[in-house]
């Protein structure tokens, strides 16, 4: 078992219960899709699995270790083996694509090499290769702030591919892309996971994409697991129950948070 949750709950403050008593076991090399209506707890679950947030109750095991029973230093080492694709890529708008992608290996490189890489890209070829898989090699030296939402999402994916983690988590990785591109990008992500024998867990709001690309599908609703089965066994009535009173709306395009510069004059 490479990823395990035992009776995990997560509360934001007192009012919001994001996850309730979730039990989950995922073996090495599995590819799992998380589906469910907005606010079902997909992002919360991925944040818990990526060790970004400590579950309020319950136990988390990742890559054979318990991240919340270890020191800071060893947890950081464990984190370097986990890759998380964020829904809104947390990349500064003024960074060049090559720098943003190479930031994936900062933990492996150490500080001196990381700082040197800021002055001059040390492995532009590696970054180009990761981008080329997503048809973005021509944007290697572009500014991230000038990319479209979908392009920026692919840069975020390229960073995690460049990191080459043992566990790959993705939070709505294709939400800002058109259907054809989303299908293609998910295909690249799954092929990469298969070839490198990486475990992949991705949340998706598009059910067709989830069923087409992932052998195992988990349905979440109100912070609970509604079903957890092979993609072939996901029957239409199960989906209707999962999304009852909900409409499938595409998520808004991810926008880079640009910081307005104040210029004082006197």
């Amino acid at each position: 078992m490479i990823l395990g949750l035992h009776r995990a709950s997560l509360r934001h403050g007192k009012a919001v219960q994001a996850l309730r008593n979730v039990d989950l076991e995922i073996e090495a090399g599995e590819r799992v899709a998380l589906i469910g209506p907005s606010g079902a707890g997909k992002s919360s679950l991925l944040n818990v699995l990526s060790t970004a947030i400590k579950p309020t109750e319950g136990e988390l095991r990742v890559l054979g270790e318990q991240p919340w029973n270890m020191g800071n230093r060893s947890r950081q080492r464990l984190r370097s083996r986990i890759g998380l694709v964020h829904q809104a890529p947390p990349i500064p708008g003024r960074q060049r694509v090559v720098t943003a992608v190479s930031a994936g290996r900062l933990a492996e490189w150490g500080l001196a090499r990381g700082l040197l890489n800021l002055l001059h890209p040390l492995d532009a070829e590696g970054a180009r290769k990761a981008l080329a898989e997503l048809d973005l090699a021509d944007k290697l030296f572009a500014q991230c702030g000038q990319l479209s939402g979908g392009q920026l999402q692919r840069v975020g994916i390229a960073r995690v591919l460049y990191q080459s983690p043992e566990l790959l988590l993705a939070d709505e990785p294709v939400s800002a892309m058109d259907p054809v591109l989303a299908d293609h990008t998910l295909g690249v992500l799954c092929r990469n996971a298969r070839e490198r024998n990486v475990t992949l867990v991705a949340s998706l709001h598009n059910v067709e994409l989830a069923l087409a690309h992932f052998p195992r599908v988990i349905g979440l609703r109100d912070g609970q697991v509604m079903f957890d089965c092979a993609a072939a066994d996901v029957a239409p009535e199960r989906l209707r129950a999962l999304y009852a009173n909900e409409h499938l709306v595409p998520a808004p395009a991810a926008e880079a948070d640009a910081m307005a510069v104040q210029i004082p004059r006197c």
Partner: protein, 255 residues
């Protein structure tokens, strides 16, 4: 009742104004009386013939260079010191250090450049050395506070993401925070440099070197032509630095 109070307040203000004239001995009528007007115009006229001799111009060139160097070096030192104080002041190392750093920044900022310069002239002797230190100390307080605010307003998500994939604190700062932050820091630095070039021309009055000291000496010796050249040089210097900083801002901050 309210109307009476208003009249009373107006009366008190009027009395205060007249009392101030009496107490300070300001006699506006005498400014325009007698031959004072012609004296004034004669005094102003002496400024209209600036001394453009090569010897004096060379001295002014050196003075201007000194002022420019003082302001640039002072601002640079202040930026380094300010950044070192801004990191704890923005709460990066816990609240006890944040409180202490804020206290230091406020103290540095509360003391004006001229007072710092007077203190530094006593501590470091006459000359540009004292002026540079004075500018650096006061500006460090100002820039530190502005930097701390900019740090607090920078989105945290990019740096958090680097930490989440195992990167260290410093790497997360350089890759996640700095790219969004440095244009703002540069804008603040350029703004303070413009202020400091003006300030540096004045610091000479307390003996801290540069054009200000030349102006002070010429005025003290009633050498109006020489003083007028120094004032012209100050204007040119300020215009030049303003233009340079506009150019730098367009090149690096707006892009």
């Amino acid at each position: 009742m309210k109307r009476v109070t208003n009249w009373l307040i107006l009366l008190v203000i009027l009395v205060a104004v007249f009392a101030s004239f009496g107490y300070l001995g300001v006699d506006l009528l005498r400014v325009f009386g007698g031959d004072n007007l012609s004296q004034m115009s004669a005094y102003a006229e002496r400024f209209l013939r600036p001394d453009l001799g090569t010897g004096h111009l060379r001295a002014i060139g050196y003075g201007a260079l000194e002022t420019l160097a003082m302001s640039a070096l002072g601002t640079l030192l202040a930026a380094v010191l300010g950044l070192f104080l801004a990191l704890p002041a923005a709460g990066r190392f816990g609240w006890p250090l944040a409180g202490f750093a804020r206290l230091v920044l406020n103290a540095l900022r509360a003391i004006p450049e001229l007072v710092w310069a007077a203190l530094m002239v006593l501590a470091a002797g006459l000359g540009p050395n004292a002026g540079t230190l004075a500018l650096a100390l006061h500006t460090a307080g100002v820039l530190g506070r502005l930097f701390a605010e900019a740090l607090e307003n920078t989105p945290a998500a990019p740096a958090d993401a680097i930490r989440l994939q195992g990167g260290g604190q410093i790497a997360a700062f350089c890759y996640g925070t700095l790219p969004n932050l440095w244009p703002q820091l540069l804008a603040y630095m350029l703004y303070r440099w413009e202020n400091n070039i003006r300030m540096a021309t004045i610091l000479g009055f307390v003996g801290a070197g540069g054009l200000g000291q030349m102006l002070y000496v010429s005025l003290s010796l009633f050498q109006e032509p020489q003083a007028s050249t120094v004032i012209l040089a100050m204007l040119v210097l300020v215009f030049l630095v303003d233009a340079l900083s506009v150019w730098m801002r367009q090149r690096w901050v707006r892009a």
